[in-house]
């Protein structure tokens, strides 16, 4: 569309202006990437502790247990266990996945893929990272306050999260951190949406944008609309805790006019269900592109994929009640929410079929980004299917709050988003840092991660189906769960394997960023989107001249191509035979 004037940034000169207070969307993206990887490791360590407590209750956590829990001789105490699963969820969702997929790749990919020199508001962009950093500090600080961190679960339902359920400042700091992070993400969303609407390169219509940008854009829309809802919720929670208001405190209810704990659940899930899509949409976008790039053929039904993603975005705002079937909702409402939830299967099935259509009869190159993308297809399929049982009222009444739920949302949110993030990291590594990561170790990383995570999350589905509740400190005090000791042990061992596999990634990544001499070529994957028309790593001004777009992003394997390549750049006229 537009042919707007865009200034060329001057290259930064000092260390501070280059790495800390940078306006450059690529540097801000990298800041978010490091931030996310750091929290990914923290959250991962917490996951291992949770798993350890479930497989070997009463035994000290190996190696660092004595140091972390000196009072209990290295054994994870019950109250700490509650803090661990709370902080694990919070950190993974808000401080690992969000910064990596939305913060890092949103920042890095959007301007590069639409042919812009930077975001529309670079200053806002920089502030958005620094506010996120403040939020991260607040969250980490909450781990060290008296009475410990928040322990009401990542959903922090009252009364678990009011002063009655969790005294101490941990929960207050948690709420504050979430609010501050919400401000940061909303600022990012304003930037992303404005950039996508106004800075697309001349000739680039919305359907000429790579699906990655579609996913990131839809995520930004959901962020802008629904993060403030959570913001309002946690603000009121803070008021309840600090200033003595009574929004979520149940008393003798109606007569004295005190508050309503269930109201928080409504507010939380009005945000919370879209949040699921906020996390997954960028991964869907990335995967939709990568499947086409590495199957060496156009994305099957790319327009339909984009429109299905949009439909899901709209539908996702209407289904939140399926998280609250057990709150004595009227059957009319539960059935409405159930029906709406099931409706999401239709667009999901469409783009899932499009994914399969894309790789069908392709000349697939099994590179590491492709392996991870296909991993996403697999785990997302499983995760989506298990969701049907939770969206149906009758089965949900049994499965609610069991490990089946945990398995389900780890498949959809953790597994597919994690694999999607890895695909993105391996794929854009050359453009980001100018070097390729080692393919061999990337593939080893993939297979161990894939086996490990399926072990973990499949195990969770089974134990949940057998009735194990999701937040028990020691489930085996109940006789009927005693038979689940072996599967818990299996799950924990899988988690440990998966955890250690990430060391491979970290070493590979750090090596490629800091130590690798061999530079990547400009277009190592041989794909045609705009970011591959410029040098690797991308120069600080991105495009010396704003590119003019002449064809779509997935022009691969066109038999009319005559220049010895099996792909064409988006800046080239569509080859016709």
């Amino acid at each position: 569309m537009a042919f707007f004037e865009q200034n060329i940034h001057h290259p930064p000169k000092t260390f501070l202006s280059k790495y800390i207070f940078s306006y450059d969307h690529k540097v801000i993206g990298k800041q978010f990437l490091w931030y996310g990887i750091f929290f990914l490791l923290v959250g991962g360590l917490m996951a291992l502790m949770i798993r350890w407590a479930l497989a070997y209750p009463g035994e000290p956590f190996p190696v660092i247990g004595q140091f972390l829990f000196p009072t209990s001789n290295g054994v994870i105490p019950p109250d700490t266990y509650a803090m661990l699963f709370t902080m694990h969820g919070t950190i993974m969702i808000f401080y690992a996945i969000t910064p990596i997929l939305i913060g890092a790749f949103g920042n890095f990919c959007i301007p590069l893929m639409i042919g812009a020199r930077d975001m529309v508001f670079p200053l806002l962009n920089m502030l958005s990272f620094h506010i996120a950093a403040v939020s991260g500090f607040i969250l980490l600080a909450s781990l060290f306050v008296p009475l410990g961190a928040a322990a009401g679960g990542w959903t922090s339902y009252p009364t678990l999260s009011t002063l009655i359920g969790s005294p101490g400042t941990g929960q207050t700091l948690w709420s504050l951190a979430i609010f501050v992070l919400g401000v940061s993400s909303t600022m990012g969303a304003i930037n992303y949406i404005t950039t996508i609407i106004t800075l697309r390169a001349p000739g680039m219509g919305y359907f000429d944008m790579p699906l990655t940008v579609w996913g990131l854009g839809l995520t930004a829309v959901l962020n802008a609309i629904f993060l403030p809802v959570l913001g309002a919720g946690v603000l009121l929670l803070i008021f309840d805790r600090v200033f003595g208001t009574t929004f979520f405190l149940a008393g003798a209810a109606a007569t004295t006019g005190t508050g309503d704990p269930v109201l928080f659940q409504h507010v939380f899930w009005i945000f919370g269900h879209p949040e699921v899509y906020i996390l997954i949409l960028p991964a869907w976008g990335v995967v939709s592109d990568l499947l086409s790039f590495f199957a060496r053929k156009p994305a099957f039904g790319a327009k339909a994929t984009a429109l299905s993603m949009t439909t899901i975005t709209i539908l996702s705002t209407l289904v939140y009640g399926h998280h609250m079937f057990t709150t004595q909702m009227s059957p009319l409402l539960t059935q409405t929410f159930m029906t709406l939830t099931m409706t999401i299967s239709i667009p999901s099935a469409i783009f899932f079929a499009n994914w399969l259509g894309t790789i069908w009869k392709g000349s697939i190159r099994f590179t590491s980004p492709m392996l991870f993308s296909m991993g996403v297809v697999f785990v997302f399929g499983l995760g989506g299917l298990t969701g049907l049982y939770l969206g149906t009222v009758t089965t949900d009444l049994y499965l609610h709050d069991t490990y089946f739920v945990v398995g389900h949302f780890h498949y959809t949110m953790a597994a597919s988003v994690l694999l999607g993030s890895f695909a993105a990291v391996y794929f854009w590594m050359p453009k980001m840092f100018g070097t390729m990561m080692c393919e061999f170790w990337a593939k080893v990383h993939f297979w161990i991660t894939m086996l490990g995570l399926n072990g973990v999350f499949m195990g969770m589905l089974f134990m949940g189906y057998a009735g194990m509740h999701r937040r028990l400190y020691n489930p085996f005090v109940y006789d009927f769960l005693n038979k689940l000791v072996p599967i818990n042990e299996f799950t924990t061992i899988s988690a440990i394997v998966m955890g250690f596999a990430q060391i491979i990634f970290v070493v590979n990544f750090v090596h490629a960023v800091f130590f690798k001499k061999e530079k990547a070529s400009d277009n190592p994957w041989e794909v045609g989107t705009l970011e591959w028309t410029i040098p690797s790593p991308a120069p600080n001004y991105n495009f010396k001249e704003i590119p003019v777009v002449k064809c779509g992003p997935h022009e691969l394997g066109n038999p009319a191509l005559t220049n010895g390549r099996d792909f064409q750049y988006q800046t080239e006229e569509l080859a016709r035979g």
């Binding site: 537009a2 042919f3 707007f4 004037e5 529309v120 508001f121 909303t186 969303a189 304003i190 930037n191 949406i193 404005t194 609407i197 106004t198 802008a224 609309i225 629904f226 993060l227 403030p228 809802v229 913001g231 309002a232 919720g233 603000l235 009121l236 008021f239 200033f243 003595g244 208001t245 009574t246 929004f247 109606a254 007569t255 004295t256 006019g257 005190t258 508050g259 309503d260 109201l263 409504h266 507010v267 009005i270």
Partner: protein, 194 residues
């Protein structure tokens, strides 16, 4: 040629400014909409309103706040219509100081509530009055900071906003200001009058 390029830049600034402002206002609206959702839940499920044992809040101070915020918004509107010229400087200052007056009024409101024995922990009705006005006032303070920024913009450019980037910034500040006035009207109606 020169003008063509300028027109393009102007068009760009307008588009970017208005898209960003719309998204931002949608975000702010959702924050307040959530508060109003909470209000309607409590209001609709309660047998009587205000909840038993509570008196209505005297309307004097909230009404005064409402008048002030309307005056402020009106002068902001005149300022925009007058094209930010030097001779409309007084409109800027009237609008700005009435804005401060509004915030002062809110402090009077909170004081008054305490003297008549309505505290944050006296039940859901006072909870809402306090929390909603706190959040709104915090936004008014943000709005005032934006107003100060607008003042800098105007004085630095000698009250001549000749390119549309500056014009867009000035207009955005005032739109946010009007938005907050509308939110206050809703709060006034829902919390105090109805």
């Amino acid at each position: 040629m020169e003008t063509a390029v300028n027109n393009k830049i102007n068009h760009q600034a307008e588009l970017q400014g208005s898209v960003a402002l719309i998204v931002a206002l949608v975000s702010f609206s959702m924050l307040f909409a959530t508060l109003f959702l909470g209000y309607s839940v409590f209001r609709l499920t309660s047998d009587m309103w205000p909840p038993a044992g509570m008196a209505r809040i005297p309307l004097t101070i909230p009404t005064l706040s409402t008048v002030i915020v309307l005056v402020s918004s009106a002068f902001a509107w005149i300022l925009e219509k007058s094209g930010y010229e030097r001779k409309s400087m007084s409109f800027y200052f009237i609008s700005f100081f009435t804005g401060i007056g509004f915030v002062v009024c809110q402090f009077y409101l909170w004081n008054m509530l305490k003297t008549i024995g309505v505290f944050t922990n006296s039940g859901i009705y006072p909870s809402m009055i306090y929390a909603f006005t706190w959040i709104h006032t915090a936004h008014m303070v943000l709005g005032l900071i934006a107003f100060i920024y607008l003042g800098f913009l105007l004085f630095k450019n000698n009250w001549i906003l000749d390119d549309s980037i500056k014009l867009q910034k000035a207009n955005s500040v005032l739109r946010f200001w009007h938005f907050l006035a509308v939110i206050w009207l809703m709060m006034y109606a829902l919390l105090f009058v109805l």
